[in-house]
Each structure stands twice: as C-alpha cells, then as structure tokens.
C-alpha cells in the first residue's frame, strides 16, 4: 500500500480508468496543461495526450452539454466543474438534461459520465467558492452522488463512478485534498452505494460525509475519553444510498446524529433523519439530531468560517447534551 494524498488519489483513479478504457476522456478548465487548479489531474495530459485530456473555455454550459453528448454517443467523459458552486451555472444540464434523458427516452439513451467538482468549505474562499451542494444533487432523480472522505475512497469510488453506466456527481472536498492515506496498490475500485462503519461504539451513532467524517472521528475520540462510545459511519454515497447500513447502525445505539456541512434546510441529513425516523422509530431513544452549518451563506474570514461549520467540539457537545452530560 502506498501513502497518497487525496488529490493524487483522484489523479490516480482517473489514470487507472483511462489506461483501462479508451473511451474515457477528461476535460475542464485548466485541467490539462496546468494539471488542475487543485492539482488533481497531475500527470494526465503527459500520459494521455491532448486528445484525451483537454482544456476548455470558461463555458460551464458547454462543458456539461458536451459531456452529455459525448456520453450519449459512446464516450465516457469525466468533466470537471472547478468549484461545486459553479454547478449552479450549468444546473440545467445536471438537473434537466443529464438526469432525465434516459428516462424521457424510455431507456434508449445512456449517459455514462462523471462530473467531478471541488466541494466544501474551510479554505476561506467565501460564499461563492465554499458551498457543499451534494444535497442539490441528491434532490434530483437520475443522478448518483458520491463524496469520498479519504484518499483510498477518492481513488476507488472515482474508478467505480467512471465505470458506472449512469451519471455520477463526484464531490472532491477542498479541505481534504492535502490529507494522505493508505491507498491499495494495483487496481482499486470501491463499489458505489456502500456506507462504511469506521468505528463502533454502543452509545451513539454519528453519520457523516466527506470532510465531516474526520470531524466526527475527532469528536468520537474526544467522547471516548469521557466514556461515551460512538459509532461513526461514512455515508460515502448519497445515491445509491446504503440505507440498510445506516438503519442498522441507527437501531444499534438508538441515538443518531447526522453531521453535515451544508446549510440547515433540506440537507441530506434531513433525508437520512427522515428515513431513520420512518423505519426505526421504535428503536430510537431520542429524535435524530442534525448537526449542520446554520442556514447562512458562508463568510470568508477564517474565524467566521470556523464558527459556522460543524466542528468536533460542536459534535461532541451535541452528543453530551443529548446524553444529559
């Protein structure tokens, strides 16, 4: 096993699939010669050449439109939208075209593509470059939604997303890019739709995604020193959702906390909390607690940004409060 950073793991996942399948092409703004503004595509132009790795104009509509057209006609495009906030600039393609065309065509058309995008806060980029918008995608039928929390998943889930016959939105968290982890050598593919239990404890269940996974793990560390044992589940994929694992882990402790980075309303936490309430109501000792960013745009200044994002301290204190400690 090699130690890889999350950003290198992204490049490694793409490279693995490009080697395997000539139909995979990569494009976006500054991803070729400049190797990505987040350095997530280093080495790819060099290895695969300008036919398969292409810089585009600043034309988010054209990027996703072209990705869709290429996917419909035999390619497997991996398109980058530089910041997930810019998905708003091409949301028509995401929500109305890419998500719906298979269905509207009665299955005639396949759209096997991946939209990669840098998501999330913590890097002081302000309200238009820091959002977590995976819930936007989850709300639209026809999209698969993946958000890895570590380098190994970044590679393995991205490989699976590229192989997947359906459109996948792949959220790479800006705050995690530098983090290193063991990534299996050789071909590495992690199936979509499987949550992962990262640690088990019998008192509470913390359900987290992307950058909130290390946050929840840190909270769990703090809590265990106080005698509170937390299970931590990494959701990994919002669609397909591994509801079975979430429900099982919810029922085991009866005290569930979702930890989301997105603003308060209509986040994935509301969906998962609703599912848990609906399907294991009687096993719950308390209502599911949603820990989220408050419903505000993200401020730029470091202190302000830190104050609104869920932190290990806030997670731990919500748990303590629920347990009356």
């Amino acid at each position: 096993m090699a130690q890889l950073s999350y950003r290198d793991a992204v490049a490694a996942g793409i490279a693995q699939e490009m080697r395997r399948d000539q139909r995979v092409v990569l494009f976006g703004e500054d991803i070729a010669a400049a190797e990505g503004v987040f350095k997530t595509t280093v080495g790819l132009l060099e290895e695969f050449g300008p036919r398969r790795v292409r810089d585009t104009p600043i034309s988010e509509l054209a990027i996703l439109g072209a990705a869709m057209g290429a996917a419909m006609t035999g390619l497997k495009p991996v398109a980058e939208i530089m910041f997930s906030d810019f998905l708003a600039c091409c949301w028509d393609y995401v929500a109305n075209q890419i998500a719906k065309t298979r269905y509207m065509s009665d299955g005639q058309v396949s759209i096997p593509l991946v939209i990669r995008t840098a998501n999330g806060a913590g890097v002081r980029f302000g309200a238009q470059h820091s959002q977590s918008v995976e819930n936007w995608a989850m709300a639209v039928p026809g999209l698969k939604v993946v958000a890895p929390s570590n380098a190994a998943d970044a590679k393995g889930l991205l490989a699976a997303a590229i192989r997947d016959p359906d459109p996948v939105l792949f959220f790479e968290h800006k705050g995690l890019l530098a983090g290193k982890a063991e990534v299996p050598d050789g071909e590495h593919v992690e199936p979509l739709g499987q949550a992962k239990v990262l640690r088990r404890g019998n008192d509470v269940t913390l359900i987290a995604l992307a950058a909130m996974v290390p946050c929840a793990l840190k909270a769990a560390d703090a809590l265990v020193r106080e005698g509170i044992a937390a299970t931590v589940v990494d959701v990994r994929c919002l669609v397909p959702l591994d509801a079975r694992t979430l429900l099982a882990e919810a029922a085991r402790t009866g005290r569930v906390f979702t930890v989301e980075e997105n603003p308060r309303l209509c986040g994935w936490g509301a969906e998962i909390a609703s599912i848990i309430h609906e399907e294991c109501f009687s096993a719950l000792k308390q209502p599911v607690v949603r820990i989220t960013t408050p419903h505000v745009p993200l401020p730029a200044a470091d202190r302000l940004e830190d104050s609104v994002l869920p932190s290990p301290e806030r997670v731990a204190s919500e748990v303590r409060r629920a347990l009356g400690k």
Binding site: L61, M68, A70, V109, P240
Partner: protein, 342 residues
C-alpha cells in the same frame, strides 16, 4: 410505378446536382410532415393529445433538406418543435403520433411526450425542451464522432429565439475551437412563442449576424426551398466530415400555425402571414416538380399513399393502450429501475 419514376428523372435532369429521385423524396417527406402535423393538431383539438404540441407546418423544407443530406448514422438534436426532424430521419408516423397521444405504441411509450421525441435507431438523439440546451449536447456528440474517428456529423436544429441564450454562445465557441463536425441550424421563423424575435435581438439575423463572433462564415438561406436547404446541407456536412469544423446556417422560414397547442397566433400581422403563406414550401416545391415535368399523377400517388399511411397510423395509435403504469418507475438507471437505496 417504375416507369413513372424514370419519366420524372428525365424531367428533372436539368438540375443535375439533385437527382430526381432525391427530389421526389424531398417532396414526399415534406408532405409527410405537413399532413402528420395537421393530424397532430386535429388530435389535439379532439383532446387525444394531452399537454402540448409544437407543430412545424411551414418549416418542412428545413427538415426534409437537412435530413436528406445526412447519413443514417449521423445525429440529429431537435427541440420541442421536433416532429418534422424526427419524421425526416425516417421515424414512422405511428410512433410519433402514438407518443403525442401518450400511448404504448409511442416512440418512448409515453414517458417523454411530444417535446422529447427520441429515436436513437434513426439518429434522432433526442428533442430538448429547454431552449438552446441541445446545441452543446450536439457539440459533444460531434466531439465523440471526431474522437472515435467516424465520419458522423451532428446537427442541432433550433429556433431564432435560441440565439439569445447563453448556451448558444458557449456551444458555438467550443465547436469552433475544437473544429467539431457539428452543424447548427437556426430555423428563423421570426417568432419566439408570441414575441417577434426582432423586438428582443440586437441584430437583424439572430444567428448569421453572430457567426463572425465564432470565426464562421455568414450563411442565410431560404428555408422554404427544400433544394436550397438540401444543397446547403450537403456543403456544410461535407465541410464537417472533411475536418473543416462547424457551420451555422440560418434558414428563413415561417410557421403556419401558432406556437403551441391551440395558439391562434393573432399577434402576427395579416399581411405577413399572407405573404408567407404564398411561400408555402410544399406548394412551391410541388409546382417546381410539375414545371420540371413530373406527372401530377405521380405526386398525387405520393400524397394518397401518405394519407393512407397516416390514417392507418392514426387508427392504430387510437387503438393502442395507454402504457403500463409500472413503466413510470423504470429506466431512471441503466439497470432499468428507479431504486436509489437498498
């Protein structure tokens, strides 16, 4: 039959660049579109077509001319006003009318509806109901053809109104920079839904006057003359296949009816309508064929045969059951299902 065909062929020999058989095919296709659109309108008035329809009667020459210049594996990308292009690529009247009527026999078994006609088997890669969106999708299909090294071209058909939306601009630029084998065909019928295009556009020719902004030549043609359209289509497709990149073609035309549903199109000046009705592409084309010596009987035979097929298709569609309710929950995903969780 075959003697008649030969006679017609001889009669048209003067216009050597378009074979007589092709001319007859162009006539037939325009006629098919015309009567099928009229039937769609009647069915709408009978409440057998629910929701909406956007008919293209008056714009037949554009569809017939472009489709005639395409290879079977070329790609068409249409709008909600897409029946004509769908029929022109060879899709039958039954699946088209069936889809409008939301029946099992419909092209997409009622799941898409009139605005989303799709027949991959005929190269009709979809009809898109958000103005302008499909221009970029067509560019992507062209990129795929270029990448795969095929000789396929993609054509995107759209209205004058679509030239003012952002996706138009982004698609043209990308296609030009990447020299993609895609042809952007603007059917300038002078109106968006109800508002004249000139009232909301900074230039007279909403497509052609923008071509230079993408390094492309300015092309404006008579969209009511199937021969002109066909010749232009041959040229721009040949250029695309030869690696010469995209083209933007503005076809001047007119819709004979309203924008959609039962719109009586009262917002159009009477004289304007009359002038354009005189330039009915089918009337003109029929007259040209007759002038060139094609027998009236031959055209009448085409017309009768078309009407027979249309009537049959109508009856069959009327008799076709509504789609099975379960189908509403299929084909969200490639596995055929709609399940988003375990």
């Amino acid at each position: 039959m075959s003697t008649t065909k030969n006679a017609a062929a001889q009669a048209l020999a003067g216009d050597a660049d378009i074979p007589a058989a092709q001319r007859l095919a162009l006539y037939r296709m325009q006629y098919v579109i015309r009567v099928c659109e009229k039937r769609a309108h009647d069915l709408f008035l009978q409440n057998l077509v629910k929701g909406t329809t956007h008919l293209a009667h008056g714009q037949e020459a554009v569809a017939a001319g472009f489709a005639a210049a395409m290879n079977p594996d070329d790609y068409s990308f249409c709008t909600y006003r897409g029946h004509h292009h769908t029929l022109a690529r060879g899709v039958g009247m039954l699946p088209v009318l069936g889809e409008l009527m939301g029946r099992q026999c419909g092209l997409m078994k009622g799941k898409g509806g009139s605005m989303h006609l799709t027949s991959v088997e005929h190269g009709v890669m979809g009809s898109y109901a958000i103005v302008g969106a499909h221009l970029a999708i067509a560019a992507g299909a062209a990129w795929s053809a270029q990448y795969r090294g095929t000789q396929q071209v993609a054509a995107a058909f759209f209205g004058d109104g679509a030239t003012n939306i952002g996706a138009f601009h982004e698609s043209l630029n990308l296609a030009a920079v990447w020299k993609l084998p895609v042809v952007f065909v603007c059917e300038n019928n002078r109106y968006m839904e109800y508002t004249p295009i000139r009232e909301v556009t900074a230039v007279e020719h909403p497509a052609a006057d923008r071509a230079a902004g993408y390094g492309l030549p300015r092309i404006v043609i008579d969209g009511n003359d199937a021969d002109v359209v066909y010749r232009t289509a041959r040229e721009v497709f040949a250029k695309a296949r030869a690696g010469g990149g995209p083209s933007l073609v503005e076809c001047l035309t007119y819709r004979h009816g309203g924008h959609s549903r039962a719109d009586p199109a009262k917002y159009r000046p009477k004289e304007e309508v009359e002038a354009w009705m005189k330039r009915d592409p089918i009337v003109l084309y029929r007259a040209r064929l007759l002038a060139a010596g094609v027998a009236e009987a031959q055209l009448a035979a085409i017309e009768a045969e078309t009407m027979r097929t249309l009537d049959e298709a109508t009856e069959q569609a009327k008799g076709s059951p509504p789609p099975a309710l379960e189908s509403a929950l299929t084909d969200v995903w490639a596995d055929g299902g709609a399940s988003w969780r375990n």
